[in-house]
């Protein structure tokens, strides 16, 4: 399953206004991995995500998705392989009805109507939102919007799922449901987030970014125990790891 | 300054609808040819912006009243005339449907007045000429002011002309014009100031946004065929429609007489009389109905309803509102409304029962 592979080499990106957002980033993510990208505001996380499905094209360095390098010719293949869930579901759900939104991707792929319909139903069922099918997106709650936004990407059957702040502005229970849902996925998951508890629950590997560079890349538990690293990157040890006897017992062998 | 369905005649409404439909198709075609269709989502979102921005008010100094943004000029500056026209058309459509601003038949007039004039005329021939390719703060201010004021004056003139041609309002041309133009001068000044301020604000933050749209292919001279075509179309369509709708008093003739004073009553009477005669002709295949010959009907009723109809002497001048007729009319009207109410009530009961 080589098309599940994400490989980034010395990637650089500077915005037209001169902000240098990525200053040489490299990593490799293999099939089925769940990886968190963490870092302070402005560390370059969002820019990195936009590179992964070609919303931005690399200025220097390379992005490889599966067997192919990302460039203008491979763009449509890359976008089919990498599903991107944006931070604000209102940006992602732009069609009149939930159904249309979930069908948007498959229709752009040129699939026949019956198959589009099948995919819409199965994607909505996966996120438990089939009953919202005929509702307009602005009539949904925050959690429902998020679920539908994920469905709108799942309907394109991507191998790699990229998410920007999936748990922002969700209430605790909805957040928990979302985490449970994501645990059932066997896609390669790449999540940029400030929610370090989510990282702890979901991702085995964590990449820490700071000022456009990767400052750490390793097993989540190890990184989230490293208070000095977290502090210098504008982050904080997750509450669950602070002074909890169970974690301390566990951190002995890990650290 | 939204035109209302109630004030326009089908001829005017139809002609303006046709003109607006033509402009919409033309703009959509131009958009496809010249501008990336990727702009379509941006257009929609900016339309929503105009909508949202219109809901924020500001206090007009020294008056205590409040103003808000019209939007046609800002859209034209950001998107170029074709896209801006389409967006204005949608904003007005939403207002017509959800807020009953104007109406569906008057929508053509409204899109023309508030979309065509600012986007195609004021923007292309005034704003762009003043601002040019190198905007400065002063030029943006001047261009936006002049363009917004003149655009709104043209729109107001449109409202006046459309109303007069429709012939439902008694307002003489000059009075109506004197009423509308100064009000819209005030609105235009405010619109110009807001447009200039917002455009300058955006220009300072993202200069590329404001300089982008004008360099999009909307060259002023390219409007010429459009304008000529539109003028021709308006003449032909207007002529055809008013010929078809000859049951109506000729609006222009009426307004001239109306301004001259005395003949206010005669002129519309002729028209309506003509209309009635025409309808009666149509009714000729139903000879049994007295409706066709008002004099007889009047005689029939005069005996019974003599006391109430005592003043019905001049009814010859307009048979349809003779005394006997008006009594019959009122009776019939009351019955009609009663029946409508009863049917509505009955249906409502029926459906609520069948549901529960």
């Amino acid at each position: 399953m080589s098309h599940h592979l994400v490989e980034i080499n010395h990637l650089q990106y500077t915005y037209p206004d001169g902000t240098s957002a990525l200053r040489g980033v490299s990593f490799r993510i293999t099939h089925g991995e769940a990886v968190a990208i963490i870092g302070a505001n402005g560390a370059g996380k969002s820019t990195l995500l936009l590179q992964l499905n070609g919303c931005l094209l690399p200025q220097a360095g390379t992005v490889r998705i599966g067997d192919l390098p990302l460039n203008k010719e491979t763009l449509s293949y890359v976008r089919r392989t990498v599903g991107m869930v944006f931070q604000d579901p209102d940006d992602q759900l732009f069609m009149p009805l939930v159904h249309d939104d979930v069908a948007f991707g498959p229709l752009n792929l040129g699939l026949p109507p019956e198959e589009v319909e099948e995919r819409v139903v199965s994607a909505l069922a996966t996120v438990g939102a089939l009953h919202l099918k005929d509702r307009p997106p602005y009539r949904l709650s925050g959690g429902e919007k998020r679920a539908v936004a994920i469905a709108s990407v799942l309907s394109m059957s991507p191998s790699i799922l990229v998410m920007d702040e999936p748990t922002s502005s969700l209430d605790p229970q909805t957040r928990r449901q979302l985490i449970q849902l994501l645990k059932t996925f066997n896609h390669t998951l790449i999540i940029a987030t400030h929610d370090l508890d989510l990282v702890l629950d979901l991702c085995s590997r964590t990449i820490v970014m700071k000022e456009g560079l990767i400052v750490a890349d390793g097993p989540t538990l190890e990184i989230l125990q490293d208070e000095e690293l977290l502090h210098s990157s504008g982050l904080e040890k997750p509450l669950r790891l602070q002074g909890c006897p169970v974690c301390q017992a566990r951190s002995g062998p890990a650290g | 300054m939204h035109m209302a369905d109630a004030l326009i005649s089908p001829a005017v409404g139809g002609a303006m609808w046709a003109a607006t439909a033509g402009l919409t198709i033309y703009s959509a075609k131009k958009l496809k040819e010249n501008v990336d269709e990727h702009i379509v989502p941006l257009m929609g979102v900016l339309g929503a912006f105009i909508f949202a921005a219109q809901m924020i008010n500001f206090t007009i100094p020294a008056t205590g009243s409040s103003g808000h943004l019209g939007g046609g000029m800002i859209l034209a500056i950001l998107l170029g005339p074709y896209a801006a026209f389409l967006v204005m058309a949608s904003v007005l459509t939403i207002q017509a449907l959800f807020f009953a601003d104007g109406g569906l038949l008057a929508l053509g007039c409204n899109i023309f007045n508030l979309g065509f004039f600012p986007c195609f005329i004021a923007y292309s021939f005034i704003y762009k000429k003043i601002v040019g390719e190198q905007p400065t703060r002063g030029r943006i201010l001047l261009g936006a002011m002049v363009a917004a004021i003149l655009g709104l004056q043209m729109g107001a003139l449109g409202v006046v002309l459309e109303t007069l041609f429709s012939g439902n309002s008694e307002l003489p041309f000059s009075t109506f014009l004197l009423l509308m133009l100064p009000i819209h001068l005030g609105i235009g000044i405010i619109e110009g100031l807001v447009t200039a301020a917002v455009v300058t604000f955006v220009w300072k933050a993202h200069p590329e946004i404001v300089t982008l749209a004008p360099s999009s292919p909307a060259k002023a001279h390219s409007h010429k065929p459009l304008l000529i075509g539109l003028a021709l179309f308006a003449v032909v369509a207007g002529g055809m429609l008013s010929w078809f709708a000859s049951t109506h008093p000729d609006g222009l003739e009426w307004s001239i007489k109306g301004v001259s004073g005395k003949e206010e009553l005669d002129a519309p009477q002729e028209g309506v009389h003509g209309a009635m005669a025409w309808i009666q002709e149509k009714l000729a295949f139903l000879p049994d109905y007295d409706f066709k010959k008002p004099e007889e009907a009047k005689e029939g009723m005069a005996g019974k309803e003599g006391e109430k109809a005592s003043k019905g002497k001049e009814e010859e001048s307009w048979p349809a509102v003779s005394a006997g007729k008006s009594l019959a009319g009122i009776l019939g009207a009351a019955l009609t409304l009663l029946m409508a109410g009863a049917i509505g009530f009955g249906l409502r009961r029926y459906y609520s029962h069948s549901k529960g």
């Binding site: 940006d91 009149p96 | 959509a28 949608s90 959800f98 946004i209 349809a320 019959a328």
Partner: protein, 270 residues
């Protein structure tokens, strides 16, 4: 600010009404759109002094409100709110056209009042028809109908986008206006300068959002064309609805039904 909220709620409420499942809502949107247009043209095609001939047209909104389970009180309120422009133009008629046109016993009524009443009746009829169209169909279906009837695709698409983002952006505008109102005292800070930078801010945010939406569309394979997967089918009842009502409108336009009724009755009692 209350104004912003109420506008939003208004759109929301009309939209809620359009979700109902009634015989009216089940009709093809094209049929409802066309019938509404025929109705409006028939209503405005009457002469300026016509009153009685207009009244039978009230059947259309009354029946549709009943069948479509639409609240008459709410629609009446919306009609009243929209009335000022027609009212202010129309109210000049009684002042300018004073010649007596109708005699009711000792009272002479001037042509101006007759035409003013006529304007207000037209207004009520046309506006209620438009509101019923939207409350009984919903904007998305109206857009679909427009597209099927040949309106340019780019126009329809951006109309849909506009409608989708009205809710989002109005909410944003509401937050801005609230933040301003909370910090302005005795009307200070509500002036032009603050206003224009607020609108500017809102515009910048909007452009930002438009960019993000565009990215989200690109990520899902948007190539400049939006596919709408929703076929419309005309059924017998749709055709019947259109022909039936249009036929009735033509009849009501040709024959002054209240007059015929009134005549028949006065004849009977003679």
């Amino acid at each position: 600010m209350g104004h912003i909220e109420s506008s939003l709620l208004n759109i929301g409420y009309l939209e809620t009404l359009s979700y109902q499942q009634t015989p009216l809502h089940r009709l093809d949107p094209r049929v409802k759109l066309l019938t509404t247009l025929v109705f409006i043209v028939a209503v405005v095609s009457f002469g300026k002094y016509e009153i009685t001939g207009l009244l039978p047209f009230i059947f259309y909104p009354v029946v549709l409100m009943a069948v479509g389970n639409l609240p008459p009180g709410y629609l009446a309120k919306k009609i009243l709110l929209a009335a000022p422009f027609a009212f202010f133009i129309g109210i000049f008629n009684p002042l300018l056209d004073r010649a007596v046109l109708v005699h009711l016993g000792p009272i002479g009524i001037s042509g101006g009042w007759v035409s003013f009443v006529s304007i207000m009746i037209r207004f009520t009829l046309t506006v209620s028809a438009a509101l019923i169209l939207i409350a009984g169909t919903g904007l998305n279906a109206v857009c679909l109908a427009l597209e099927k009837m040949g309106a340019p695709r780019s126009f329809v698409t951006q109309l849909l986008f506009l409608y989708r983002y009205i809710f989002v952006l109005t909410d944003e505008a509401l937050r801005l206006a609230r933040a301003r109102a909370l910090r302005s005292f005795q009307g200070r800070g509500m002036g032009f300068k603050v206003f224009s930078s607020m609108i500017g801010q809102l515009l910048l945010r909007t452009l930002d959002r438009a960019r993000r939406i565009h990215l989200a569309m690109l990520s899902r394979g948007f190539d400049g064309k939006i596919h709408l997967l929703r076929p419309l089918h005309l059924h017998g009842r749709d055709v019947a609805f259109f022909l039936g009502w249009s036929g009735l409108f033509v009849l009501m336009r040709w024959f002054n039904i209240p007059h015929l009724l009134g005549n028949t009755i006065t004849e009977l009692f003679r």
